[in-house]
């Protein structure tokens, strides 16, 4: 039973980590922007979703549409905030050093944290209706929430969608071109500004989506964005900062490392993720799937 629990818990946690981290990876990979505001997008997604759930389920409407409502609310909020951040703020700093854009996104994160509190106040929101609505199943004697298993399904869908979009679509090819050499891509006629905008919007909506699907499982409270940013960075650092496959690998490693620690050595839970990250970076400084990037001076 312990082995099965480690497998199931590790997979569920890894799926959640991947859903949360994929937007961050996409934005960094294409735009070289370390987006600290990703934590705020996650938090706004969670709050929007929780609010939508409360409004929707309080009137006894069908469960299935409730899922669509909560995700749509978060995607809409992610789109709007992403648009505002990219248009009003980040666009002015694309030609600056990566440290500068990172600081700008950190400032945005701090501002958005207070905006969040102005809108929703200090008290947490609890919206468990979707989580409870789908019940639980027993796998080998272990009770598992169906909602948690749905997260695994969502992670798989997102991974496949990301792979297909990047490898099999025209936009994906443009994305790869910009990722490897922005100036060369522009020279070949690619509208890099438009690619950046679309990438940032997708990344923002993915960040908000992470919050949206998490909301039914937690108390949505001030500060949830901070913890997510820390763990998301650890995941993409392990996998490789610019790689979707790296984010998936990093999520799996972190997910199973934590599950092993909780079940077998609980006192290691606090830092096992960072021990793993340190070990990986010692041997692979750019992450498992990352590679050195030529720096132009």
């Amino acid at each position: 039973m312990v082995g099965l629990a480690i497998l199931v818990d590790g997979l569920i946690y890894a799926s959640w980590l991947f859903i949360v981290a994929i937007g961050l990876t996409l934005i960094f990979g294409v735009m070289r922007v370390l987006n600290f505001a990703h934590g705020s997008l996650y938090a706004f997604g969670a709050y929007s979703s929780a609010t939508a759930i409360g409004l929707y389920f309080d009137h006894g409407r069908p469960v299935v549409f409730g899922f669509l409502v909560m995700i749509a609310a978060a995607l809409a909020v992610g789109f709007v905030i992403g648009l505002l951040l990219e248009r009003l703020l980040l666009r002015r700093f694309f030609d600056k050093d990566e440290i500068v854009t990172a600081l700008v996104t950190y400032a945005a994160f701090l501002i958005l944290e207070d905006v969040l509190r102005l809108i929703w106040g200090a008290q947490g929101l609890v919206a468990p209706q979707p989580y409870r609505a789908v019940g639980m199943v027993t796998i080998g004697g272990l009770a598992v929430g169906v909602y948690d298993l749905m997260l695994v399904g969502l992670a798989i869908v997102l991974a496949l969608a990301a792979w297909y979009s990047i490898q099999r679509t025209r936009f994906g090819r443009m994305l790869i071109a910009v990722l490897y050499d922005r100036e060369a891509a522009a020279a070949f006629g690619i509208n890099v500004t438009k690619v950046y905008l679309i990438t940032f919007l997708i990344g923002s909506m993915l960040g908000a989506l992470g919050g949206a699907v998490t909301a039914p499982r937690i108390s949505v409270s001030p500060g949830i964005g901070v913890e997510v940013i820390v763990i998301a960075f650890a995941v993409i650092a392990i996998g490789g900062m610019s790689s979707i496959g790296g984010a998936l690998t990093g999520a799996l490693i972190v997910g199973f490392a934590r599950a092993l620690a909780v079940h077998l050595a609980p006192t290691l839970d606090l830092f096992v993720v960072y021990v793993v990250m340190t070990i990986v970076l010692v041997f692979r400084p750019y992450g498992l799937w990352g590679s050195a990037v030529t720096r132009k001076i």
Partner: protein, 432 residues
């Protein structure tokens, strides 16, 4: 006739000065009280906002003389209180730096605040060094006075030891056949100390109960899937937890959804704080503590009646135990200040005189009397109530039944003994 501009200005200045003049216009100099509470970060909902609300409400009422007797004198012995709210959030170094700024730059007379156990332990020696009266209102670590002795630092609320000892007594009374138990506590000093005290209490009172699992999740992560799987596999009849705020709400939510609470009874030593808002999500049969006698566990005395009615009226929700702790701390300060002032014929007392008056003081709070009986008269002890929770679906209200109140001397170590030593020795001298 046109008045000269200077006359107009003077007249306007006089008129403005007289508008909204406080009742103390020509009275004693104000007492500046800094109130550091969490105004940002994950603790703002569970601790910061209720504590700020309580401080605002009580200080305003104190200045207006609206508190019930014996606290009905205006201000502090007639001196108006000026409240300075400060954010407690930040690293320990930041908190200590801000504390020094409050004293040296802002010249506050008293500091009433602090929730984080790490902050309390760090700044207690600084408070003594700066000779500023500091009333720690909510931090629960027993280490504050177990490991230190201070002249200017006071804590009205009991340490977390009393919560865990009371919980163990309650299990002995209600579930004497308990065979085993597990724990899930946040991985920092608060959680570690709570688990230590609960384990030692159980060893003393229910020695045949074995420990199944000891879990320490990282605070504020909001993910308890693996922990819940571990607890499901362990099948413990009792699960102890000192999780608080969002973590507590998340754990309860995930645990009930996965059926953990169908086979295990939760012992939530600080569960009271989420009942008013999340009562319908807390499983029936949970054993709930409230860090003393607060909230639904409070007495029906005049102080509690006043506080409950006015807090609900102003903030549209019931106060939780952090709000009660703020109330108790301000009442203790007022009682000490006025005792010191009375000894001087009503004159403003010095910091040393107030500290002397506070030492060993007994005063009434919403949870009954508090006696500053430990830590050389600087640490308060009070009764602790604990009960079993049920959500009344007919009235849509949280309720408590099978309430048991333990005397302060039953659940607190005697003066001169640390909590750990007292528990390891089987609680000698406990009067239950």
């Amino acid at each position: 006739m046109q008045m000269p501009k200077r006359s107009w200005a003077a007249g306007l200045a006089v008129a403005l000065a007289s508008v909204g003049t406080p009742a103390f216009a020509e009275g004693p100099a104000p007492v500046k009280i800094a109130v550091p509470v969490f105004l940002s970060g994950p603790a703002v909902g569970a601790f910061g906002e209720p504590s700020k609300n309580a401080a605002d409400l009580v200080i305003k009422a104190m200045n207006a003389g609206e508190l019930p007797p014996p606290y009905n004198q205006k201000g502090l012995a007639g001196a108006p209180i000026e409240e300075k709210l400060v954010d407690e959030a930040g690293s320990t170094a930041t908190v200590v730096t801000e504390f020094k700024n409050l004293v040296e730059r802002d010249k506050v007379d008293v500091v009433v605040g602090y929730v984080s156990s790490a902050s309390c332990v760090a700044l207690a020696p600084v408070a003594d060094e700066l000779q500023v009266l500091t009333v720690i209102y909510a931090c629960g670590t027993s280490r504050l006075f177990d490991d230190g002795s201070y002249k200017y630092v006071f804590r009205v609320s009991s340490s977390q030891t009393s919560d865990d000892v009371a919980a163990a007594h309650y299990l002995l009374a209600k579930y004497p056949d308990t065979k085993s138990f597990s724990g899930i506590n946040p991985n920092y000093s608060w959680g570690q100390d709570n688990w230590r005290d609960f384990m030692l209490s159980m060893k003393a009172l229910l020695p045949n109960a074995a420990v199944d699992k000891e879990l320490f999740p990282k605070p504020f992560v909001g993910e308890f899937g693996a922990e819940i799987s571990t607890l499901l596999a362990a099948g413990s009849p009792i699960i102890h937890s000192s999780l608080w705020g969002g973590d507590l709400e998340t754990f309860v939510l995930q645990a009930t959804a996965r059926g953990l609470t169908e086979h295990s009874r939760l012992v939530l030593t600080v569960g009271e704080q989420i009942l008013a808002r999340q009562g319908k999500n807390v499983p029936d049969g949970s054993i709930i503590g409230g860090r003393g006698r607060h909230g639904m566990l409070a007495t029906g005395n005049a102080v509690n009646q006043w506080f409950l009615a006015n807090y609900k009226k102003q903030f549209n929700t019931a106060p939780n135990f952090p709000a009660y702790h703020m109330l108790s701390s301000l009442l203790g300060l007022k009682a000490a200040w006025e005792k010191a002032a009375a000894a001087k014929g009503g004159a403003r007392p010095t910091t040393d005189e107030v500290a002397a008056a506070f030492t060993g003081l007994t005063f009434e709070t919403a949870g009954g009397p508090v006696r500053m009986a430990r830590g050389k008269g600087h640490q308060g002890i009070e009764e602790v109530a604990i009960g079993t929770y049920a959500y009344d679906k007919k009235t849509d209200q949280p309720t408590m039944h099978d309430l048991v109140t333990y005397p302060a001397e039953c659940v607190n170590p005697p003066e001169g003994m640390t909590s750990a030593d007292w528990l390891k020795q089987g609680m000698p001298g406990a009067k239950c």
